[in-house]
């Protein structure tokens, strides 16, 4: 390792960036341009031989030159990225790779979360998923689930939850833990509002999704052929993770979903859900959207300060929160 030089930085620019991109290109990869941090290892003549990047909690664009394979450079890159992530307070990391790299990453302490023919999704906690599932706990009887963003919770969500809860013994409600930033409500607020809005549903179990359900963790397009639809692969991975790991551990046999008239990506995701989940013995039940209520409409009304209209669309506790926190001009 003595003769190698390591350079690392928040984002490369100029000739260094060009060099990085050229190296990736030679390895058949592409820079997606959304990296927070990049590590590149150069040989004694300052020629790049290995690299890797961090984008949020996802490690990506990890590549090693053929000529130095076996010298442990991949492990060095991964170590550097993990250390940097730790300095930023992120210890739970993910990566997507080709199935043939399974052994290599397993030897670096990663474990498989979900696997399809073309892609492998791994995390750096050996029992992360198991710990997450244990913390929720399995309950007896017929279990169903809803996965939602609830940004913020509306009467439409509430109706879907009430309908689902009436048809099972336990209803797991996973509120997405990802922080969308911008105009979006923070995960903890969304979670609390769902808790309040479902307090009357005795068999509802409200949970954080952590990173295990529909994580928007930027999916790497770089090793996929152009012909493969990235969103589709991402949806499939998420659904396979749900069907093979999460649902069996919690005894979930049905997933409820509202119809999606507006958003094309969500609609396609729902279509894949209908195709994939029944193969694993999970029923997908689509409930027509109540009065076409949408959370984005609520957010738009909030911007305009139209609280009388918001009141019609959201549960009481959500209205209280919104009027209490945003109605300063009223």
């Amino acid at each position: 390792m003595d003769n190698y030089n390591v350079i690392a930085g928040v984002s490369f620019t100029g000739s260094r960036l060009a060099e990085y991109r050229e190296f990736l290109h030679k390895r058949g990869l592409k820079d997606e341009g959304d990296c927070d941090y990049t590590v590149m290892i150069l040989d004694e003549d300052y020629v790049p031989v290995a690299c890797g990047s961090l984008s949020g909690s996802v490690m990506k664009q990890i590549a090693v030159d053929d000529t130095v394979e076996g010298a442990g450079l991949c492990a060095k890159v991964v170590s550097e990225l993990q250390n940097e992530a730790a300095r930023r307070g992120k210890s739970h990391l993910f990566l997507y790779t080709k199935p043939e790299n399974k052994r290599m990453f397993t030897s670096m302490g990663f474990s498989v979360m979900a696997e399809t023919d073309s892609v492998l999704m791994m995390e750096n906690r050996r029992d992360g998923l198991k710990r997450f599932l244990d913390s929720i706990g399995k309950r007896g009887g017929k279990s169903a689930c809803i996965v939602c963003n609830c940004n913020p919770m509306t009467k439409g969500h509430q109706y879907l939850m009430e309908t689902a809860a009436a048809n099972c013994d336990n209803l797991y409600i996973f509120v997405l833990s990802e922080d969308g930033g911008g105009d979006n409500f923070p995960p903890d607020v969304r979670y609390e509002l769902v808790k309040g809005g479902t307090a009357h549903i005795k068999n509802a179990i409200v949970c954080h999704s952590d990173e295990y359900l529909i994580s928007r963790s930027t999916f790497p397009a770089y090793f996929l052929k152009d012909t493969i639809d990235v969103e589709l692969v991402r949806a499939d991975l998420d659904l396979i993770l749900f069907a093979t790991r999460i649902a069996p551990a919690l005894g979930i046999t049905a997933r409820y979903v509202g119809t999606e008239p507006y958003d094309a990506v969500t609609r396609r995701y729902n279509e894949r859900m209908h195709e994939i989940l029944p193969k694993y013995g999970i029923e997908v039940i689509e409930i027509p959207r109540k009065d076409n209520i949408s959370a984005s409409r609520v957010r738009a009304l909030l911007k305009e300060g139209k609280f009388a209209e918001i009141k019609e669309l959201v549960p009481e506790n959500v209205y209280e929160y919104l009027s209490g926190n945003f109605a300063h001009d009223a």
Partner: protein
């Protein structure tokens, strides 16, 4: 010593060990080890990790260790560094009088 955050030390290079320590409120020490010398030295590595944490009076923690053939002294040093980082403490006692 009480762990406040995640502490990480070491690398995954040959002869080193990477230790990630995560706080836990109860349940003792849980070690998850990946090693390329698991069959020969797995038990010994876990023993060193546990003893080092016991010396530091860390009672509850998740330990994720990725070993690449580290010697006991390396393991001990890495666990100590990770623990101090996780405890956000800089009160190292580098030398104690005999």
């Amino acid at each position: 010593m009480e762990l406040k955050t995640t502490g990480i030390a070491g690398t995954m290079e040959s002869s080193d060990i990477q230790i990630v320590l995560e706080p836990r409120t109860e349940g003792g020490i849980e070690v998850s080890l990946t090693s390329n010398v698991m069959n020969q030295f797995g038990k010994q590595i876990v023993k060193v990790i546990r003893e080092t944490l016991a010396d530091l009076k860390v009672e509850n923690a998740y330990v994720n260790a990725v070993d690449k053939g580290a010697l006991d002294c390396t393991i001990k040093a890495r666990v100590q560094a990770a623990a101090y980082r996780a405890a956000e403490s800089d009160e190292y006692v580098w030398r104690t009088k005999a």
